[in-house]
C-alpha cells in the first residue's frame, strides 16, 4: 500500500503543531497550497469522472430496461452486489486486473454509483401518469418524442435526487482511494495517521465533508432550475 506524504519538515514547527493540539490554523495556511488544495482538486476530479461515467452507464441501462423488461433484474442485482462489496475489498479485487492506478479507483467508484442511479432513473421514467402518456399518444407524438418531451422531463426530480446521493456517496468513498493511489483527500489523512497529527486529519476531513455539502447544495439549485413545475401549488 502506498504511504501518504509525510508532514513537510519546516525545521521549526509551531507550538501548536508540536503539541498536537486539536486544530492549528497556521499549519493549514502554510500547507494549503502544497498539500490540501491539490488533494481537494484531485478529489473533485475523481468524483466528477466517476459520477459522469456512472450516470452515462446507468442512463443507457435504464432506457433499455424501460423498453425491455428483462434488462431490469440482472442489472439491478449486479449493481446491488457491487454496492455491497466493501470499497477496500473491491479496490483490491481490481488491482490484479488494472493495477495500482486511477483506473482501478474509477472503476470501483463508478460501480458504486450504478445502483442508486439506475434505480432512480428507471423509477423516474416510470413515474409519468398513464393519462399523460395516453394523451401524448392520442395527440400524435411518436414513441421517441414521448420519451424526450414527456417521460424524461418528468423523470428529472428522481434523477437529480439520485445524482445527489451518488455524488455525496462518491465524495465520501473517494477518500478510500488513498489506499490504492496517491490522489484525493484520503492521502493527507492516511499520511497523518501514523503520527496521529490531528490538524491534518481534521482539515482534510472537513474539506471532504464540506465538498459534499457544497455539491449537494449545488444540485438542489440545479433541481429547482430544471423542474419549476414541481414547486407550484394551487393559485386559486
Amino acid at each position: 500500500m502506498t504511504a501518504g506524504p509525510v508532514i513537510p519538515d519546516f525545521g521549526e514547527a509551531s507550538d501548536c503543531v508540536s503539541e498536537n493540539r486539536t486544530f492549528c490554523s497556521d499549519w493549514v495556511r502554510e500547507n494549503w497550497d502544497p498539500v490540501l488544495q491539490p488533494a481537494l482538486v484531485e478529489h473533485v476530479k475523481l468524483t466528477l469522472i466517476a459520477v459522469v461515467v456512472g450516470f452515462a452507464i446507468s442512463l443507457v441501462a435504464a432506457l433499455l430496461a424501460h423498453r425491455l423488461r428483462h434488462v431490469e433484474r440482472p442489472f439491478a442485482i449486479a449493481s446491488a452486489v457491487i454496492y455491497t462489496i466493501p470499497s477496500l475489498a473491491l479496490f483490491q479485487l481490481l488491482v490484479p486486473i488494472t493495477g495500482l492506478t486511477v483506473t482501478t479507483v474509477e472503476v470501483a467508484l463508478v460501480g458504486y454509483t450504478l445502483l442508486i442511479l439506475f434505480r432512480n432513473i428507471l423509477t423516474g421514467l416510470r413515474s409519468a401518469p398513464p393519462e399523460v402518456l395516453e394523451a401524448a399518444r392520442g395527440m400524435g407524438l411518436t414513441g421517441t418524442q414521448t420519451l424526450f418531451r414527456v417521460e424524461l422531463p418528468l423523470a428529472l426530480p428522481a434523477i437529480v435526487a439520485g445524482l445527489r446521493v451518488a455524488v455525496v456517496s462518491t465524495i465520501a468513498l473517494a477518500t478510500v482511494a488513498a489506499f490504492v493511489v496517491s490522489e484525493g483527500l484520503g492521502v493527507p489523512i492516511l499520511g497523518a495517521l501514523p503520527l496521529n497529527f490531528k490538524t491534518e486529519i481534521i482539515a482534510a476531513g472537513a474539506l471532504a465533508v464540506g465538498l459534499a455539502i457544497v455539491a449537494d447544495a449545488m444540485l438542489v439549485v440545479v433541481q429547482r432550475l430544471l423542474t419549476p413545475w414541481a414547486y407550484t401549488r394551487r393559485v386559486a
Binding site: A135, G138, M139, L141, T227, W229, R233, R234, A236
Partner: protein, 320 residues
Amino acid sequence: MRAPRQAVEIVFDHATKRYPGRAAAAVDDLSLVIPAGEVCCLVGPSGGGKTTAMKLVNRLVELTSGDVRVDGRSVRSLDETELRRGIGYVIQQVGLFPHMTVAENVATVPRLLGWSKAEIAARVDELLDLVDLPAVDYRARYASQLSGGERQRVGLARALAADPPVMLMDEPFGALDPITRMRLQNELLRIQREVRKTIIFVTHDIDEAILLGDRVAILRDGGILVQYDTPEELLARPADEFVARFVGADRGLKRLSLTRLGELELEPAETASGPVLDAGTTLRDALSAMLNDGSRTVLVEGGDGATRQLTLDRLAELLR
C-alpha cells in the same frame, strides 16, 4: 392567421374489433354516418364498447375488420401518427403535461406540425380566449395550479390547437363536480357553434348525450348499435325495450326539456293568469312551474311586447 378548416364526415362501415381469446366482439359490425359539423354522442352501459368504437377513429385501437373513413379516406391509409395529429383527442383525466405551462401544453401539436413561433403564440392566445381562460393570467401556469374545470378547458384548447376537423371526446366531463360539468357542457355548445367540428362524444350519461348531441347512438354490450337518431326521435320513439329503459321512464319529461318557450308559436294571453316565465325557459321547467303554482297556464313575454300563454292542454298536444 390560418384559414379555419372545414369539418368532415366520419363513416363507420361494418367496423368490427375483436380481441384474441374473447368470444364476444368489443365492437360488432358497427355502421353509421356522422355528417360533417355534427356532434354524435355514443352512449351505452360501461364497458359496452363505445370508447373502443371511438378509438377506432384515431387508431388507438386497430380494426379487426370493416373500415372507418374520415373525409372519405380510410383511417388505415394514413400513417397513424399523422392521423392523430389531425384529430383532437380529449380524455376524462385530461392528461395535461405536468412539466409544461398551459401555453406549452396547448402548443404541443402545432409545434409537432412545424408552425412558426408567431403563429403558435397567436393561436394559443386565441384558444385560451375561446375556452374562457384569459391568456394573460393562464399562459404561464402549470397544471398543478389549476382546478379540475380549468384543466379540462385547457385540455379542450389543446385538442383544438391545430384546428383539426374531427374531435374525439371520451367522457371529458365525467370527473368534474355537477356544477362545473354543467358549465363546461354549455361552454362546449357555445364553442361548437363557433367552430363547428365533427365531434364524437362518448358518455354513459343519457342526459348529457341528449343535451349535447345532434345525433345520439345507443350501443349495447359488444358495441352493437341499437338506435341512431336525433334526441327528439330517440325520446319519442325508442327502438326497443333496452333503449326505452336506457333513456329512462321519464323520457316524456326529457322531451319537454328539448324545447324552450321562445321557440314556440303561442297564443296571446287575454284574461289568463299564471306564473310569468322567461322565453328561455324549457317546457319541462314550465310544466314544473304550473304544478308548483297549481295553475294550468303560464305566461311569457313575447318579443313584440305582447304577453302570450301556454296551457297544459297545448303542452300535452306538443308531446303527441
